[in-house]
C-alpha cells in the first residue's frame, strides 16, 4: 500500500474537496487530537437539528486532511467549536443556492505566532497557515454541514473560496483596534472569527486624496444593484453576517485620518444605498413585499438593516490601493472565538 493509494482511497470515499488530501492516518490524527487538547472519545460539538454528534476524532482527521500542522491545534479547536455553534448554520451554508464559502478571519498575536500571511495577496495567500486553516473550515462544511452526505449542495455558482478562504489581520500597527474587538473580545486576545460569505469584490481607488472618497467608493461597491442582501437585510439582527470591508494599508491611512471605526461604519451605512424604486424595477425586490421587510417606495434602501452588520479588517500590503468588500450570507451568524483559554 502506498501513500498515493491512500490518497486515492480518500477520493473514493468522498473524503475530499476535489483536491488530494493528506490521508488521515490514526497516528497523525492522534497527534492532532493532542494538539487540540482533546481525546479520541471527546465530542467536539452537536448539530442537533441534523441528528449529528461530531466527535473530536473526526475534527482532528479533517485538520490532518487539510494539511494543518499540529501547532495550529488551539486555533483549530476554537475554529471547530465556532463552526459547530448552531446559530452559525453550517448546514445552511453548505446547501444554499447562494453558494458561500466559510471565511476565516484570524486576528491578534496568533497571526505572528503561527506565521499567517497578512501582507501580499492577503485574501489568497500561498502560505501554509492561511491555506490549510481556510481549507479545514471548508472541509468541515462539506463533512459536517452536509449531515454525513445526505444533504445536497445547491450553490448556483459558488466561488473559489469554498475551497478555503482565510484572511489574517495585521497583528500590530493597525490604525484601529483589532478586528475581534468588534465582537466583544479584548484587544490583547487572539481570535478566530467565521462568516459564510460570497467571494471578495475588489475596490480600486488609486487617486482619492481623502478617506471620504475611499469610503464613498466602498459604499458604492456594497450597494451595487446585484448586492446580495437587499431583501432580507439580515432580518434586523445585528449578529447576522453583513458585509466585511478589508482595508489595505494605503486606503486605511487615508480613512483613519478622517474617521474612527464607528464613524466609518456609520458613513458606510448611510451611503451604501440605492433607490428603492429602481431596486423594485430591476427585480431586486419583489413587487409585492411582506410588511416585515419595510420596502418603502421613494426612499433609499441599503443591503444591511443595521450598521452593526458592517465590519472592518486591516490586511494586505502597501504599494497598491485596492480594498475589498466581502458580502456575508444572510442565513448565517458571524461567530468569533478567543484562541486559547
Amino acid at each position: 500500500m502506498t501513500l498515493a493509494h491512500d490518497i486515492q482511497r480518500c477520493f473514493d470515499q468522498g473524503w475530499t474537496d476535489g483536491l488530494p488530501v493528506i490521508p488521515p492516518y490514526v497516528s497523525h490524527v492522534d497527534r492532532m487530537l493532542d494538539a487540540m487538547g482533546w481525546s479520541s472519545a471527546d465530542v467536539a460539538g452537536e448539530l442537533k437539528a441534523l441528528g449529528l454528534e461530531v466527535r473530536a476524532e473526526q475534527v482532528a482527521a479533517t485538520a490532518v486532511m487539510a494539511g494543518c500542522k499540529p501547532e495550529y491545534g488551539s486555533l483549530l479547536r476554537a475554529l471547530a467549536e465556532a463552526l459547530l455553534v448552531p446559530e452559525f448554520n453550517l448546514a445552511g451554508a453548505a446547501v444554499t443556492t447562494g453558494g458561500p464559502g466559510i471565511l476565516v478571519i484570524v486576528s491578534g498575536p496568533v497571526v505572528s505566532e503561527l506565521e499567517f500571511s497578512h501582507g501580499a495577496n492577503a485574501l489568497g495567500a500561498g502560505v501554509r497557515a492561511n491555506a490549510t486553516v481556510g481549507r479545514f473550515a471548508g472541509l468541515m462544511r462539506t463533512f459536517c454541514g452536509r449531515a454525513g452526505g445526505v444533504l445536497e449542495e445547491f450553490g448556483t455558482l459558488g466561488h473559489p473560496g469554498r475551497l478555503g478562504f482565510c484572511v489574517a489581520e495585521h497583528p500590530a500597527d493597525t490604525e484601529w483596534a483589532p478586528f475581534h474587538t468588534q465582537f466583544g473580545l479584548a484587544p490583547a486576545d487572539s481570535a478566530v472569527t467565521i462568516m459564510a460569505t460570497e467571494g471578495p469584490n475588489s475596490v480600486n481607488n488609486h487617486y482619492a486624496d481623502s478617506g471620504v472618497k475611499v469610503l464613498e467608493t466602498i459604499a458604492d461597491c456594497i450597494a451595487h444593484y446585484g448586492s446580495t442582501s437587499y431583501y432580507w437585510r439580515g432580518f434586523g439582527n445585528p449578529r447576522r453576517s453583513g458585509y466585511l470591508t478589508v482595508l489595505s494599508p494605503e486606503h486605511m491611512a487615508l480613512v483613519a485620518k478622517d474617521f474612527s471605526r464607528d464613524a466609518a461604519r456609520r458613513f458606510l451605512f448611510e451611503h451604501s444605498v440605492r433607490s428603492t424604486d429602481e431596486l423594485v424595477r430591476l427585480g431586486r425586490l419583489p413587487r409585492e413585499s411582506r410588511p416585515e421587510f419595510r420596502v418603502e417606495l421613494g426612499a433609499p434602501r441599503g443591503p444591511v438593516g443595521l450598521e452593526e452588520q458592517l465590519t472592518f479588517v486591516e490586511s494586505g500590503c502597501a504599494g497598491g490601493r485596492f480594498s475589498a468588500v466581502i458580502p456575508g450570507w444572510v442565513g448565517n451568524y458571524t461567530v468569533s472565538r478567543k484562541v486559547g483559554s
Partner: protein, 183 residues
C-alpha cells in the same frame, strides 16, 4: 509534528480515520394521510410562498376544508426551532401539515427535515418543494430510517418572480396535489 512528514514511515499499515459524522436518529413511522380533513400551513418566508399558501387556503375554504393555521417560520434557511415544532404538534390536531413553499437549497433541506421531525412526533407533515429540489427529501431519508417514504408536494419552479396568474396556477397545483393526503 508535521503530518505529511510522517506519512512515509507509517503508511504501510495504518488505519484511516473517517472525518464524516453520520446522523444518529431513531427509526420512525411515516403517516401519509391526515386523520382530519383540514390543513395546517407553515410558510418558509420565501417571496411569494405566503401568497401561494394564502391563495391555497382560500381555495380550500371554498371547498369546505378548514385551515387550522398559517404562520411563518422564524428562518427559511434553518429547521423549525423546538418551540416551533412544539407549536405544530400542539395545534395541528390530526390535520395535514404542509411546510413550504421551499424554492432554494437551504429552505428545501430545512423544510424536508421539518417534515421528518414532525413525522417522528406523529404529525402527518409534508414539505412543499419545487422541481429542482425534489430529490432533497429522498436523499435525507436514505439515512433517516423509517417504515416508508415521506411524500412531498412538488410545484413548478420558480416562485419568486410571479404575477397574479402564476400564483393562482401554483395554488391550484398545490390544491390538486394535497387532496390525496386528506381523509
Amino acid at each position: 509534528m508535521n503530518p505529511i512528514a510522517q506519512s512515509e514511515c507509517d503508511a504501510d499499515c495504518e488505519m484511516l480515520v473517517s472525518p464524516i459524522p453520520r446522523p444518529k436518529v431513531p427509526a420512525f413511522k411515516v403517516a401519509q394521510r391526515a386523520a382530519r380533513r383540514g390543513v395546517y400551513f407553515v410558510d418558509t418566508w420565501k417571496p411569494n410562498s405566503l401568497a401561494i399558501l394564502s391563495r391555497t387556503r382560500s381555495l380550500l375554504e371554498e371547498r369546505g376544508i378548514s385551515t387550522v393555521a398559517l404562520w411563518s417560520k422564524q428562518d427559511p434557511s434553518r429547521p423549525l426551532t423546538p418551540p416551533e415544532l412544539d407549536r405544530v404538534v400542539r395545534e395541528s390536531e390530526g390535520t395535514l401539515v404542509l411546510i413550504g413553499v421551499a424554492d432554494c437549497g437551504s429552505c428545501s433541506s430545512s423544510s424536508s427535515l421539518d417534515s421528518i421531525f414532525l413525522q417522528q412526533r406523529g404529525v402527518v407533515a409534508l414539505p412543499v418543494l419545487t422541481a429542482p429540489f425534489a430529490d432533497v427529501l429522498p436523499r435525507i431519508q436514505s439515512i433517516w430510517q423509517s417504515d416508508g417514504a415521506i411524500p412531498s408536494i412538488v410545484l413548478e419552479h420558480p416562485i419568486q418572480a410571479l404575477g397574479a396568474g402564476d400564483i393562482e396556477r401554483r395554488a391550484q397545483e398545490l390544491l390538486c396535489n394535497l387532496e390525496q393526503f386528506l381523509p
